[in-house]
């Protein structure tokens, strides 16, 4: 399974990064290794040289040894500071790219539960401990956990993101190499923490499309969301034809929402999930807080389906990309 | 003279005791600091849950208890002032000196007994309040309810009571220790024991004042939110 140019099963090497963020991380790590390596080597050589040259009994000039030199001290205070801040800025810049998710990213809902990964594609195709993604297209993973903290870690992409119960966390990447890559859980989550592993398969976009359609025929996530939208009674108020004065949900994801207490925020998955479970928390301006809370009636998977449906309504209006 | 039996000068013993106690109080302040941070988190994230929950605390007992502790702080401060007369003085030993020290001992004993009594009063009132909270179902867990309010309590109300019980519980533990220490010193002072020395009374008083300051900060957090409308 090791994708790198390893020699034999026992000794594998990670191989070049397989995601855009990974290539940048590798460059940063290489520079860090070179800079720190040279300084460490220089220090080691200096210590060995001093030890040999000034060992007791050696003939060496030991006249008036300096015991402090503020110029030297200032030099080796400011130089490391400058180098460190340089490294910080570069690493922080790369890290900032990780938190800006491209708009056209392919959303996949990931649910981590004790000792397995459930991944749901938009058309309802579900995978356990496996993720098929197209080459070159950004993919956005919306991570949720049902029990303890897990961490979605793909070493080949040089990326990981903790999956915290009670909130959605997001991880996006753009695969740049074909092949299969290891998937690990990196945050201790119980006895079978080391068995909560899997693989990420990067395929040509054409093969990916064919694979997506050939999956077991289950209603799409969005379709299930729509079914829930009606069975839970949301349509009673939120449907266009309903007489109840309730906010419209079509194309909600990504839209700026103005709230009653003057705040305004961009509606994201967390906002939709919050409004279902705690409707009185962020009441939209111009509406009275009459919506009942659905806490205790919907599971995380149902919430993901509802959110996918709300996302899908947005697509109908803008040509249904993805 | 060898270093072994050289008694430390009074000033150094006083300074060491006071500085050592303040360093200990710094660590205790950070100990309660962790709780205040948890409260800050809860209050900023679930403001209306905390307000709804805080309305059910007994503000009458809370306020009386604050007054009781403030008064006890006054008396223990007066005890420290009275104890200054017990410092090693260079006055000639004699009946006058012995009488002066006896009256100082008596005054210290009286002030310490009053402080300890006020401490016990606080604990009694606290017990009554805890029993009332228990009966109101204000204990977080499966049977948690906000007194007679119908419906599920808002999210955050249970968190408020987790913090309420942990904060007041830890404060009561510290207060009980304080009452015990003051009672021991009060008995020692009334018996004019020689181990009742100013540096030790100062340290006991500092600890008591600290427990009072913690309550002063707990009071507005636990009893006052959500009172207005």
């Amino acid at each position: 399974m090791n994708d790198g140019n390893g020699v034999g099963a026992g000794f594998g090497w990670l191989g070049p990064a397989a995601s855009s963020a990974g290539e940048r991380a590798d460059l940063l790590l290489l520079v860090l290794f070179v800079v720190c390596g040279t300084v460490a080597l220089a220090l080691a050589v200096l210590i060995v040289w001093f030890s040999v040259r000034y060992r007791r009994g050696s003939k060496a000039d030991r006249s008036n040894p300096p015991s402090n030199d503020w110029r030297l001290e200032t030099a080796w205070t400011l130089t490391p500071l400058a180098i460190f801040l340089g490294i910080f800025a570069w690493a922080a810049w790369d890290y900032a790219q990780l938190s800006i998710v491209p708009a056209d990213a392919l959303p996949i809902q990931v649910l981590g539960k004790q000792w397995m990964w459930k991944l749901d594609h938009r058309n309802g195709r579900r995978e356990i401990n496996e993720l098929h993604v197209p080459l070159g297209r950004p993919v956005k993973l919306v991570l949720a956990s049902e029990d303890a903290i897990h961490s979605f870690f793909v070493p080949a992409f040089r990326l990981k993101q903790d999956v915290v119960p009670g909130r959605y966390t997001v991880l996006w990447f753009r695969p740049t190499r074909l092949g299969e890559f290891r998937l690990f859980c990196a945050e201790f989550c119980g006895a079978e923490h080391s068995k909560m592993i899997g693989r990420v398969v990067v395929m040509q976009p054409a093969d990916y499309a064919r694979w997506l359609e050939s999956g077991p025929l289950r209603p799409g996530l969005a379709a299930r969301g729509f079914e829930l939208y009606r069975s839970l009674g949301c349509s009673g108020c939120h449907d266009e034809r309903s007489t109840v004065h309730a906010p419209r949900l079509q194309g909600l994801l990504g839209r700026v929402v103005h709230l009653q207490d003057g705040r305004s925020l961009v509606a994201d998955e967390n906002y939709v999930r919050d409004s279902i479970l705690l409707p009185k928390k962020d009441v939209v301006a111009g509406f009275d807080p009459v919506m009942p809370s659905f806490a205790g009636q919907v599971t995380e998977e149902d919430l993901q389906a509802l959110i996918e449906w709300v996302r899908a309504t947005g697509d109908q209006r803008t040509g249904g990309r993805g | 003279m060898s270093m072994a039996n050289e008694p430390l000068p009074f000033e150094l013993r006083h300074e060491t005791a006071q500085f050592g106690m303040w360093v200990f109080l710094a660590s205790e302040a950070l100990f309660f600091g962790g709780l205040f941070l948890a409260y800050l988190y809860g209050r900023t994230h679930w403001a209306e849950g905390f307000d709804a929950a805080a309305r059910h605390t007994d503000v009458v007992i809370g306020s009386i208890n604050t007054a009781v502790l403030l008064t006890s702080s006054l008396f223990v401060a007066l005890a420290v002032v009275a104890a200054r007369a017990l410092r090693p003085s260079d006055r000639p030993p004699g009946d006058a000196e012995r009488a002066r020290r006896r009256s100082a001992h008596r005054r210290v004993a009286v002030f310490l007994w009053i402080t300890a009594a006020l401490g016990v009063a606080f604990l009694v009132l606290k017990g009554i309040e805890y029993r009332k909270d228990w009966l109101d179902g204000l204990v977080p867990g499966t049977a948690f309810r906000l007194g007679d309010e119908a419906g599920a309590p808002p999210v955050g109300a249970a968190l408020f009571y987790v913090l309420y019980w942990v904060m007041t519980g830890l404060h009561t533990v510290h207060l009980t220790i304080g009452v015990g220490v003051l009672a021991v010193f009060a008995v020692g002072a009334s018996r004019e024991a020689d181990w009742v020395q100013p540096p030790r009374i100062d340290v006991a008083a500092l600890y008591w004042h600290f427990v009072d300051v913690v309550w002063i900060l707990l009071y507005p957090l636990l009893y006052l939110p959500g009172r207005a409308g």
Binding site: G166 | A26, T44, S73, V155, V213
Partner: protein, 117 residues
């Protein structure tokens, strides 16, 4: 000298009682978020009075005062830096829905042996 000290202490006590009364009264005045700010402000003033006069920080040595100040500073550090996270973190979502009690609406539970379980 002790006579003036006793009077000072009693005066501080009276001030503390007045502040207690005022904070209790102000709690019933609807100030919105201001309530907590006012109540905490008064509490800080009361604490300062107790620490400065009752705990005699006014006649304490410099290092003792620094010890008192350092405790406050480090609490502010703890609250401040974790505050940076809470202030800038994306919205905190609702509590997790415990799946164990709820059978998902949608599909009948897959047979025990199937990989989907």
């Amino acid at each position: 000298m002790t006579r003036t000290l006793v009077f000072a202490l009693v005066f501080v006590w009276v001030a503390l009682m007045a502040l207690l009364a005022s904070t209790l009264a102000l709690a019933y005045v609807p100030l919105g978020d201001g309530n907590l700010v006012v109540a905490l402000g008064i509490a800080v003033v009361k604490s300062a009075l107790v620490v400065w006069w009752f705990m005699r920080l006014n006649e304490a040595s410099a290092k003792t005062r620094i010890a008192a100040g350092v405790a406050l500073a480090f609490f502010a550090l703890l609250a401040g830096l974790s505050g940076v996270d809470y202030a800038t973190r994306a919205r905190n979502a609702a509590p997790v829905q415990d799946a164990k009690q709820l059978a998902p609406h949608f599909e009948p539970a897959p047979p025990a042996g199937s990989p989907l379980r």
